[in-house]
């Protein structure tokens, strides 16, 4: 069997280490395995346990041609996004961080204060992305903020991706304060124009060279080839490939992916901001492949966040309609994050919580349309992305994959209420990443995009 090209993809998640073995010739999955992540002790323990399971399924040890991994273990990649105006460079910086697969734990604007700089330390931020000013515009703010970071003696990497005019001053300040500084292209070179790539590459580079080492993930590279991406970036890569297709192999077209977890809900969309010619787009340019993360929406650690996002009245309505005391259920899950639903009632409460994650996360991800009466007729003012024509919504993440109600949960991403301004998918078909392979295929796409695409298409299970 040595002539068969076999690859092993690993996703070191915050909770589970997931292994997917791929047969490149047959363009299919050989086996998958999953064990708890053991990054707090030794990341290799969990990996070896999962590998043993995998080898048992494959009937013995396997020589893999290549073993690559992505990681969101040990808190993932935690970033602070700093910009000038909230709607412009702050938002651009935030989107770049999210596109690079980071968690944005801190968002700062205008002149930062000492207290805000202290938060960077308190929140154990891994990388700071500093922006501010369009090219040719404001330089004062970014330089002021960089000085504040320097005065505080920050010892974490800083990526400067603001106004290019002051790059030389920035380099000089890096030198003066002995900062670990990197310079990338401006995240917003012109008003409302988003420039993701350069800063994202700089972040990925630092993640690979520094962060995975600092988090004790690098140890695994003795046993595998390399860790190549933060997990969410791998998923975003997979989403884009699955949507667009590759060469002659068509993709699934415009799509959304919702990934509900215990702590966060990630939402991905791959589509243009609009296809209509009669709308006026407002605000910062939207990325074609966009990721948003809701840190307050999740079915275990973040279950209280779901309750907080609802009003007393809404909670009473839920109790009245379903008999579920959402607040109590959320607290129960927060207190015991490894809680597994055993009774139909528990299962139902889990479903409700997941439905709310899906509903709220889409509400924050999707754009809005406002109708404006003007003297020359109706005008359509759009902010964010128009997802109404998206026909494919895919669910992933343990709480959806393991639920008997995956379809019901995913249905909450679509336009369930009439008459809102939210541009949600109107009539999508639902699919499930039932084998939990999206991150793995994002990794495999770097080796063989065509096979990765075909495998994904084969394994996205339609939900009727």
């Amino acid at each position: 069997m040595s002539d068969v090209a076999r690859y092993l993809m690993i996703d070191f998640g915050s909770t589970f280490t997931k292994l997917v073995a791929v047969d490149r010739e047959r363009e299919d999955i050989l086996a998958t395995a999953m064990r708890p992540t053991t990054v707090t002790t030794d990341i290799r323990t969990g990996y070896r346990a999962a590998l043993a399971d995998l080898e048992e399924r494959l009937g013995g040890p396997v020589a893999f041609d290549r073993i690559v991994a992505c990681s969101s273990a040990a808190g993932g990649l935690k970033m602070a996004a700093i910009g000038l105006v909230e709607e412009l460079t702050v938002e651009a910086a935030k989107r770049v961080c999210l596109g690079a697969g980071a968690k944005v734990d801190l968002v700062l604007s205008h002149h930062v204060t000492k207290a805000e700089v202290k938060k960077i330390l308190d929140k154990k931020i891994d990388i700071v992305l500093l922006a501010g000013g369009a090219d040719g515009g404001n330089t004062e703010c970014a330089l002021y903020n960089l000085k504040m970071l320097g005065e505080a003696g920050l010892r974490i990497p800083i990526v400067y991706a603001g106004n290019k005019d002051c790059q030389d001053d920035v380099l000089a300040l890096f030198e003066t304060y002995g900062l670990e500084g990197h310079v990338a292209e401006n995240v917003m070179p012109r008003i409302n124009q988003l420039n993701v790539k350069s800063a994202r590459d700089a972040i990925r580079d630092i993640f690979l060279k520094r962060i995975i080492e600092a988090k004790g993930i690098k140890k695994i590279e003795d046993e595998i080839d390399e860790v190549v991406l933060p997990t969410p970036e791998a998923v975003l890569t997979a989403c884009e490939l699955l949507s667009k297709g590759y060469m002659n192999e068509p993709g699934m077209g415009e799509l959304c992916v919702v990934d509900i977890g215990g702590a966060t809900t990630d939402m991905y969309s791959v589509c243009h901001a609009t296809k209509r010619s009669d709308v006026i787009l407002r605000g910062l340019e939207e990325p074609y492949a966009k990721r948003t993360v809701e840190g307050d929406l999740g079915v275990r650690w973040s279950a209280p966040g779901i309750v907080q996002s609802l009003s007393e009245e809404e909670l009473k309505m839920v109790l009245l309609d379903t008999g579920v005391d959402l607040k109590a259920e959320a607290e129960k899950r927060f207190a015991d994050v490894s809680f597994l639903p055993l009774t139909p009632e528990d299962e139902y409460a889990d479903r409700l919580l997941a439905e709310m994650c899906a509903y709220k996360a889409m509400s924050r991800h999707a754009g809005r349309m406002e109708e404006v009466f003007t003297p020359i007729g109706m005008a359509y003012n759009q902010t964010g992305k128009d997802l109404t024509d998206v026909r494919t919504v895919i669910g992933t993440g343990g709480p959806i994959i393991r639920s008997r109600f995956a379809r019901e949960i995913l249905a909450k991403t679509s336009a369930v209420f009439r008459g809102t301004q939210e541009l949600r998918p109107a009539r999508p078909d639902f699919y499930l990443d039932s084998e939990y392979i999206l991150a793995a295929m994002g990794l495999f796409a770097r080796i063989d995009p065509l096979s990765a695409l075909r495998i994904m298409k084969k394994h996205m299970k339609p939900l009727q």
Binding site: V85, A134, G136, G137, N138, T139, E140, I191, I280, P375
Partner: protein, 134 residues
């Protein structure tokens, strides 16, 4: 190169004059930041902050300019760009009103230059050069 923020304020979708202004000011050597039609006061102000623009030129063609421009100077002050130059021009009020009076109202609202309907942009350009000390 100095930046000038231009755009059409409020629920106004008149795009032609806006393009002519962009063309003229760009040719005159300015970095024109055109935020387009249907723009709010905040859109103008945010763009001016990020681009360090010393001048905002507001267009309004549909007669509601007076309502749309109210409070703009105060917002500039609150946003830290209180000394930005504010110009406004177009059909900025409803009906045929005495323009001297209209100008007075807009000056009181904190605008630095107020142009009546049909003003060629070249006329404003001369003022721009003067006000920006060029």
């Amino acid at each position: 190169m100095k930046s000038i923020v231009i755009g059409v304020i409020g629920a106004d979708v008149h795009a032609v004059g806006n393009k002519i202004i962009e063309y003229t000011l760009t040719n005159a050597g300015y970095n024109v930041v055109n935020i387009g039609v249907l723009s709010s006061q905040e859109d103008f102000i945010h763009a001016a902050i990020e681009t360090n623009a010393p001048l905002i030129l507001v267009s309004s063609l549909y007669g509601h300019g007076e309502i749309d421009c109210r409070g703009m100077r105060a917002k500039c002050v609150e946003s830290g760009i209180g000394d930005v130059l504010l110009y406004v021009g177009g059909n900025i009020v409803v009906g045929k009103q005495d323009f001297a009076e209209v100008r007075e109202r807009f000056l009181k609202m904190g605008f630095d230059r107020v142009y009546p309907p049909g003003t060629p942009i070249d006329e404003a350009l001369a003022d721009i050069r003067k006000d920006l000390g060029e």
